[in-house]
Amino acid sequence: MMHLEQLPPWAALIVALFVVIGATLTLLGGVGLVRLKSFYQRLHAPTLGYSYGTLLIILASMLMFSLLEGRAVVHELMIGIFIMITTPITLLMLGRAALRRDRDRKLGHDEVVPPRNRTEPPIETEDEDETKAETGGPQP
């Protein structure tokens, strides 16, 4: 723990502030993950930790090791860029999987998909559009 005394005071304060705010935001994301009601709401809660928590703790770590070693330590940026690239991919795939599972559950897990007709649906959609336009037009 002797390395903490070697930091200049302003850097120690900035590092402490960043670490405290990042850890608190991650904890709030965890609280939201437990307390929110539906899955699609819970999907949004831990992204606090993914974005703000990772960003602030990585910035604090970069600042601290750069000042301690007297050179620019930027290898924490690798974690940051990796998280920045992979988080949207994972959460998008998870959300699509949840949507598909919900649809399958409404169909009763029978995997019965209604057949797609090439000719009739355009006529139906045109009728729906016309009825929507008729009913939705005068209301506002």
Binding site: G22, L33, Y50, I79, R101
Partner: protein
């Protein structure tokens, strides 16, 4: 004085991250459906990675960074495989 503040901040951050890890673990054990469990597992990976970074800052040891990087990569692969399994019923088509 500032070293004391920094030490207190690092201790608080470790406790907060462990609490967040416990909450994500609670959601993983409780989760009503499978996608909730996968989301809780992914959150646990990210929280463990942040915890490793904070512990490495407290020790002044650079090698915790390597562990954090490995945890991040494993978390990504795990969550993508679990999501593909939930979506299709098989991982590799």
């Amino acid at each position: 004085m500032t070293a004391e503040i920094l030490r207190f901040a690092l201790g608080y951050a470790q406790i907060a991250l462990i609490l967040a890890l416990a909450l994500a673990c609670w959601r993983m054990l409780l989760g009503p459906r499978a996608q909730d469990r996968v989301l809780g597992l992914d959150t646990m990976y990210i929280n463990a990675m942040l915890l490793f970074l904070v512990i490495g800052m407290g020790n002044g040891n650079v090698f915790f960074f390597e562990g954090a990087l490995v945890i991040a990569v494993l978390g990504f692969v795990t969550t993508v495989c679990a999501a593909k399994f939930l979506m299709r019923g098989e991982v590799i088509e």
